[in-house]
Amino acid sequence: MLDHRMIVEAVTKRFEDGTTALNEVSLEIPEGQFAAVLGPSGCGKTTLLRILAGLEEPTSGRVEVAGDGRRDHMAMVFQEQSIFPWMRVRENVAVGLHGLHLDRANARAVVDEQLDLVGLQSFAEAYPHQLSGGMKQRVSIARAFASKRSVLLMDEPFAALDEQTKIGLHSELLRIWERTRKTVIFITHGIEESVVLADCIYVMTARPGRIHACVEVPFARPRDVVALRGDPAFGRLVVEIWGLLREAMAA
């Protein structure tokens, strides 16, 4: 088994118009860690994730997973509605299976299993326009897990959802993640969200984005996303991170 540690080394991204989105960002995320990248809007978080996913090339620097330079270790969950409107839910989840070369029966079994995990078995034959925003993101998550890729990249996947849906999805995501313990890099601007989900929170500065601080989240797993919010330590950590974020925005 390869070591699927993710190494980001001095990644800089400068766009054609001269703006620098990322400035020498370095990260080392151990295999199996749930890492949150927290930062103010426009700090280049999404750019960082797109570089990790291989959707954009860094101006300089290096990204490596499992030391083999390949990018197909990453499965991406996008911020906006990203499931294909012309495919049924089942077909959308199966998009994650590209390159796995499964036969029909196996592919069907994997899709069914993932749909079951996100509670959408009865919507397998539905089209996306029949689903709510939260259900669409669950399809997107099922697609990512179906791919069996070792690193999950999530770009503010719950940003567009209402609070109740969001909390429900946090608990679902953690439950599914516990089964596989993939490496996760979760981009967000929500402090509470990052504390609930992550093992480790990387706080980024405003543009050009740099890593300002790294905070360990000490809470034991499996976590109860609601009960955790009542823990005094949770509140203290949120306040501490808010302080770091304010520093980062001033920096």
Binding site: F78, E80, Q81, S82, H98, P128
Partner: protein, 264 residues
């Protein structure tokens, strides 16, 4: 909303069937109006014969078999010309949507050639392809080709970037990229192109038959006028209108079936 859920569903169904009824009823109403106008001599029957006498003329032409021959020839030219233009048009449109280089080369050519009236180059087409069916088919194909190329490339270009990113992120490439992402994404625009270009194809085939044919509905119309058999001309005109109507309705139904994923 008032009423139970069942009542609302019934209401929605009633509205939908009313919409379909209106689609059928509007041409019939126009024909009735026309018939009345001739009977009360608002319209001159020598130039605007009543629908009933046009029907009589059509029955006469149908009995001699003349009508079926012309109809068959025109439909054949229409269908062959449509496919001969649509297939390469869709292929070029796909390539234009995919590659900025193909787009850079092809779009100025299309912009310059598309507006040339196809009928204006009919003499050239006849020179190259002769006086037979082929010249008519080619005329139709050229008209269809440009519209399909333009609509397909626009359809590919308007696919939301996010879907291209998803395809890239999950390694959807090659034939499955075309089959699962590009074609279905461009399909609404492609079908609109098909509707528009079938209308144009009908205009072109009739016009080409006016000028250079000894059979077909266009010839029937032109010959009817030349020999002062005005009813015969109207038979041709009405049949062309009916073809246009049937094709449009058929394509709309096909669209409904081909795009089950569009919210309606």
């Amino acid at each position: 909303m008032n009423g139970t859920w069942e009542a609302q569903v019934r209401r929605a169904r009633r509205l939908r069937s009313m919409e379909r009824m209106l689609r059928l009823a509007s041409p019939i109403a126009l024909l009735l109006l026309w018939e009345c106008a001739v009977r009360v001599r608002v319209l001159d029957a020598r130039f605007f014969p009543a629908p009933s006498s046009v029907v009589a003329a059509a029955l006469g032409l149908a009995r001699t078999g003349e009508l079926w021959g012309d109809l068959r020839v025109t439909l054949l030219r229409l269908v062959l010309g449509f496919f001969a233009g649509a297939v390469p048009g869709i292929a070029l449109g796909m390539l234009m949507g995919l590659s900025r280089w193909v787009r850079a080369v092809a779009s100025p050519l299309i912009a310059a050639l598309y507006p040339i009236p196809k009928i204006a180059v009919l003499p050239l087409i006849i020179l190259i392809f002769g006086l037979g069916d082929l010249s008519k088919i080619v005329t139709v194909a050229i008209g269809v080709f440009f519209i399909m190329a333009i609509n397909t490339s626009a359809g590919v270009l308007q696919i939301d970037r996010i879907y291209l990113d998803v395809a890239k992120a999950y390694g959807v490439r090659g034939p499955s990229y075309v089959r699962e992402v590009l074609l279905p994404g461009a399909l609404p625009s492609l079908l609109t192109g098909a509707k528009v270009s079938l209308g144009i194809a009908l205009i072109l085939v009739v016009a080409a038959e006016f000028l250079a044919a000894k059979d077909g509905l266009g010839y029937l119309i032109w010959n009817g006028w030349q020999t002062l058999q005005v009813e015969q001309m109207y038979v041709g005109l009405v049949i062309v209108a009916v073809i246009g109507y049937v094709v449009t309705i058929g394509l709309e139904e096909a669209e409904r079936l081909a795009l089950p994923w569009l919210p309606r």
